[in-house]
Symmetry: C2
Subunit: 364 residues, 2 copies
Amino acid sequence: MTTFPLSPGSTIGILGGGQLGRMLAMAAARLGFDVAILSPEADGPAARVAAHSIVGDYQDPVALKALADISDVITFEFENVPAPALAELQRLGAEVAPPARALAVSQDRLVEKTFLNEAGIPTVTFARVDEAPDLRAAFQKLGAPLLLKTRQGGYDGKGQVWVDRAGGADIAMGALGDRPSIAESPADFRRELAIIAARGRDGEIALYPLTESHHEGGILRRTTAPAKASRRLLAEAERIAATLLGALDYVGVIGVELFERDDGRLLVNEFAPRVHNTGHWTLDGCEVDQFEQHIRAIAGWPLGPTAAIHHVEMTNLLGEDVNGWARLARETESRLWLYGKRDALAGRKMGHVNRLSRLDPQAT
Amino acid sequence: MTTFPLSPGSTIGILGGGQLGRMLAMAAARLGFDVAILSPEADGPAARVAAHSIVGDYQDPVALKALADISDVITFEFENVPAPALAELQRLGAEVAPPARALAVSQDRLVEKTFLNEAGIPTVTFARVDEAPDLRAAFQKLGAPLLLKTRQGGYDGKGQVWVDRAGGADIAMGALGDRPSIAESPADFRRELAIIAARGRDGEIALYPLTESHHEGGILRRTTAPAKASRRLLAEAERIAATLLGALDYVGVIGVELFERDDGRLLVNEFAPRVHNTGHWTLDGCEVDQFEQHIRAIAGWPLGPTAAIHHVEMTNLLGEDVNGWARLARETESRLWLYGKRDALAGRKMGHVNRLSRLDPQAT
């Protein structure tokens, strides 16, 4: 039985071995924890800064047993963890956080938006699409155009296609592999925003400043933080984040992607039940960063303060961008985070740079 | 042949596996480097956050060869590295930084003070003491009392004894094991200060703000940073640090312990050719911390900015102090660094806490 708060010297298990696991592992080490990484990759970014590395498939019962045996609490660094893996860990008596339900909800876009609306959190209007006729019917109900997305899988803009008219339903469904899908109305947004939030084991909530996201080709390119925002907008973003954390009975850090519509309303695009790329600015920009915050939350520690200490422009280093490290290292306002990935494939997140400037007192 | 600047993905070797190695390893990982730890301890604080761990004695030729083979540059985290170990690494063609000479000078208190004085850096007056008659003669030359220290070894107040009068020479020498020693005049200091400084491969120098040290029982207990200091005092501390770095043709971070005498003069107590406990405040208090700075320097990267962003009171968590982690975790101004050591032995450095407050604009 795990007792909370978890003492330093305990071991934190992480499903997934990428950069989020790497930064979580470093935060855990700072607080005196050991880390065990379970990943199919032997030499991934996270395993190289962790005390223990278990190499195996996420559904390999031997690997899951090894992780459960060594870990006092287990978390995950990506939202496509197979549900049976978490179920198996729980069957083995492991403590898992965030809760499996949050992961399950986030893994299905239809379930996610339905859940959000039922919790009183606005999203775009949407319709369930199992087959082409459902999509044609959706045009009747929602108008045109529609954004067709597979309910499961897909990230960084993959697994989605715009459909202009009902007549294009068959082609669109085919383009996504005729998989269970969701049709969404356009968000008509003027800005993409995001908010990182955390909830402790005692229900305590901590909210980071709102940020503005800039995507290119479906991939996050830059985060500007804190975002310029009216008090009303800020209050609504905070209401949404706090409501979501409560509705999910959440433990840990969550990333909530938002649309600010032309009419000023806020909609949730989606949430990720984990530390999030839009929170990387907190590493250098906030009192306690999102990675330490997640470790604090799942370890049953009190949450840390979240106020901004700098204005930050976070830029992802994608693919060969990382080859600019020598130039970036000369910029005195830049803090560099490189993930130790071997191959700079096109579009791959290789690192990020936080460019700091003086915090506008009005922004806090 | 190593080419500088070292590319991310390169491997940094570290002799020593304690908390300084741990914090260096985390800083290296942030910049995309892998780390290899050589330590006699299999499961030490540093090895648990490093990609590679080589377990062996510092003079084990097989272990040294393994470290040299895997590392693009090798550094050390404590100053008692046996000189033959560095010589062997250099014979194997390894790049070692800081330079072996700095280590050798720092390992012998007589050589160190002689070197400092020859470089124009003031210290207490001192005399070489090989045998009891030398100590009796020292009283003639320097007066009384004298602080007798072994030339080599000793740390945290160990290996030294006060001697009141020439008649106590034999007993004092016996107390230190009749080893080659140095007799020092009292420093008559009103404050103990320290300055962390860095020098890059191109000779660029970066100086951190001056700090005030508070020792208890010969062990650093607290650092207050930045220290309140006149411009004159600050300028003299900076002159001393820069002079020392140049005289040693240094590469890396150095810690310089200073005495501020009652008459306002600054003396160097000793220097450590490595990251230093009096620089732990920089982890949360400065633009770029001493650990990243050391990695930057030895990797041939440009040095980072060193300005303070917070006023910090750093307190070492010694022995059972670490059991106060739950209380410290609740302090919103406190940033906790725990080293993952298994046994909280009395006086052992288990972690530290940086308590942040607003920077006094006059102090910068």
